[in-house]
């Protein structure tokens, strides 16, 4: 019945009257829209992935193949020699272990402190609470570079310069405002207060209700802030080069950066690219591992 009515709908009543809008238009318009969407998506993807492809491709080429003009879009001489030899010129595994240690410790510290602070801000009313929230938000408005000297000075005064502890504390501090705000929203929207009250009646203390009931049901939110802090710390170059730039203690970003600065990216370009590829793998594995939790954690607080 509906089809018949549509077919007999007078078309001369004006363009707007027959238009249903969105994707429910004519079949040709629908195809055109889809084609445009696909083309734009592919172009965006190429734009984003081209440098990654270039890095991966170069890591499987010889230096001569990489330097060929015009450039080769794929390896003419495919080789894994750069992966086998890179450890002779750059202690990449040591740097990766340093990065994993620093990023994981910062992520755990930030999540532990962040979830405790977020829980208090989500559940309890106390004098100065609004001020706390405003102050936490305000930290996000300060450009990171303006904090460089004060933070360097503070870490130096504490005797933590060129120590893992110093950089871990710094990374956790940078991520905390985001962690607190995200988890506060998560607790408020996804963890009904009735659950804690039921736990209190069942015999829990406030801490035990938080630990046994609220944290287990907040795993998506916790995963989101953990991976956020981990990736922030993993990708950081600025703070690591300021606070931790001594010999074997370097993180992978600083290590590769220093290797590049010493001319490694020119003389050993394929090994440099192989080191870059290797440095992305741990973060990629972690991201893929918690991706589902991360997505649900980031969206859970936005819509109830």
């Amino acid at each position: 019945m509906t089809t018949t009515t549509t077919e007999h709908m007078p078309r001369a009543t004006g363009r707007r009257s027959g238009r249903k809008g969105g994707f429910a238009r004519s079949r040709n318009a629908d195809r055109l829209t889809r084609a445009i969407v696909i083309v734009v998506t592919v172009l965006a993807l190429v734009y984003i992935l081209l440098p990654v492809y270039w890095m991966v491709k170069s890591s499987f080429q010889t230096n001569a193949d990489i330097r060929a003009l015009p450039p080769h879009w794929y390896p003419h001489e495919f080789t894994i020699q750069a992966y086998l030899d890179m450890t002779y010129v750059i202690p990449i595994w040591r740097y990766i272990l340093n990065s994993i240690y620093v990023a994981a410790a910062a992520a755990i510290l930030s999540t532990l402190i962040g979830c405790s602070a977020a829980y208090v801000l989500a559940r309890f009313r106390f004098p100065g609470m609004t001020l706390c929230l405003v102050a936490i938000l305000a930290t996000q408005l300060i450009p990171p570079i303006t904090r460089a000297f004060p933070l360097y000075s503070a870490i130096q005064s504490a005797g933590l310069l060129n120590s893992y502890t110093g950089i871990i504390i710094a990374y956790a501090g940078f991520s905390l405002p985001f962690c607190v705000m995200l988890l506060r929203g998560y607790f408020m929207n996804n963890c009904p207060p009735d659950l804690e009250e039921a736990a209190l009646v069942d015999g829990c203390s406030y801490f035990s209700a938080f630990w046994r009931i609220i944290l287990p049901i907040s795993l998506p939110g916790l995963a989101a802030v953990t991976i956020f802090t981990f990736l922030n710390a993993w990708n950081d170059f600025l703070w690591a080069s300021l606070l931790l730039n001594q010999g074997d203690m370097k993180t992978v970003q600083v290590g590769i950066g220093d290797f590049s600065g010493e001319g490694g990216n020119v003389r050993y370009i394929s090994m440099f690219m192989a080191a870059c590829v290797t440095a992305t793998i741990p973060a990629l594995i972690m991201f893929l591992f918690v991706q589902r939790w991360l997505v649900s954690g980031l969206t859970a607080g936005s819509v109830k």
């Binding site: 009904p192 009735d194 009250e197 039921a198 209190l200 009646v201 015999g203 829990c204 203390s205 049901i217």
Partner: protein
């Protein structure tokens, strides 16, 4: 099983007084229901009993021990929440055994007590399921199971049936009542549903704006409401109210209504005098259709609602909304004027200013 005493309990939120100076005694093993409209303070009172809200002034004692400063876990109470508040990451068995685990009971004891509670509530086949895999009624039963597995001194129920459909609510009402009969534990139950209150309670406390309006057995409150609020709140459909002035002489009094018409009142002593401004209350079931020569009223019928067993006739008389609950299926049409007779043995009179019940009427 424990006796509960609330002595001059006050709860303030800043300047707002939610519960002002309330005193109440709940006997051992009693099923007491707090009923009242939304915002009347009944849930606040229950939460103070549970230890989830602090007490601003006054004392709460459970089993003779003042518990004002005790955490919920120290009070030996169990509570069923309106939302059920089941732990979503635990199975039914883990939910029910959680409090026992916190009490460091042995694994064997936890299993035994959970199994016994599950047997009572027909939850045995569901013990391994998570709350998300249960229906509303099953979740409600798990919430009750979590409470009864502990054998506490007092059960607190906070509108536990309000999320269920009508049929399940009737079924669960009977189950809770039978559970109380078996366990004999003191129960304080909060609801805004007066049918729940009437059908389940040993005693009802009707609350309004933080104050207790009346305490008594369901039938006491229904038959002798002490004020207009209680009279209108209890009963469904609620009591018809006809404001007017008493005229005539002692022994032959009448109630003159707003439209100038009069209703002759029975000759017995009603505690009324000519000139009194009162509101006469009549329950819908105490009105019958037809003119039998007694007290009567002409009603313009707006709507008739046949329920099968009886018929609700909704209309107007003297600018007042009137509902009559009539037996069977009387032949009355919308828009007609019908004569109804009022049973003179069931009249209620309330002072027009204070709303308080007058004399020995009824």
């Amino acid at each position: 099983m424990a006796h509960i005493s609330l002595r001059q309990v006050t709860k303030k939120y800043g300047r707002f007084v939610a519960v002002p100076d309330l005193s109440l005694e709940v006997a051992e093993g009693e099923f007491l229901i707090l009923v009242g409209p939304s915002g009347c303070g009944k849930s606040t009172l229950l939460r103070m009993l549970a230890g989830l809200e602090s007490v601003t002034h006054g004392e709460i004692a459970i089993g003779g021990e003042v518990v004002n400063d005790q955490m919920p876990r120290q009070r030996d109470i169990a509570m069923v929440f309106q939302s059920y508040a089941l732990y979503p990451h635990m199975t039914v068995a883990q939910n029910m055994g959680f409090s026992l685990k916190l009490d460091r009971c042995s694994k064997a004891e936890i299993e035994e007590r959970v199994a016994a509670a599950a047997e009572i509530l027909a939850l045995t086949p569901l013990l391994d399921r998570k709350p998300a895999q249960l229906s509303g009624g099953q979740r409600q039963r798990v919430a009750m199971g979590r409470a009864i597995v502990r054998d506490p001194k007092v059960f607190l129920f906070d509108e536990p049936l309000s999320n269920l459909d009508a049929k399940l609510r009737v079924q669960m009402r009977a189950e809770i009542k039978s559970l109380h009969y078996r366990l004999k534990t003191t129960i304080v139950y909060v609801t805004h549903d007066q049918v729940e209150a009437m059908t389940m309670a040993d005693r009802i406390v009707v609350m309004n704006a933080g104050n207790i309006e009346q305490v008594g057995t369901p039938l006491e409150l229904y038959d002798r409401p002490m004020n207009r609020f209680v009279a209108e709140f209890l009963g469904s459909p609620s009591m018809n109210m006809l404001p007017g002035e008493i005229t005539g002489a002692a022994g032959a009094l009448s109630l003159r209504l707003a439209d100038g018409s009069s209703i002759a009142l029975p000759g017995r002593d009603l505690g009324l005098a000519p000139g009194d401004r009162v509101t006469m209350g009549v329950r819908p079931e105490h009105m019958t259709i037809g003119d039998t020569g007694g007290m009567g009223l002409d009603i313009v019928v707006d709507v008739t609602e046949p329920t099968g067993s009886d018929t609700l006739l909704i209309g107007r008389a003297a600018d007042c909304a009137i509902t009559c609950e009539l037996d069977g299926r009387p032949d009355v049409r919308m828009g007609e004027t019908a004569r109804v007779t009022i049973d003179p043995a069931h009249l209620h009179f309330f002072d027009e200013d204070s709303g308080r019940r007058i004399g020995a009427a009824g």
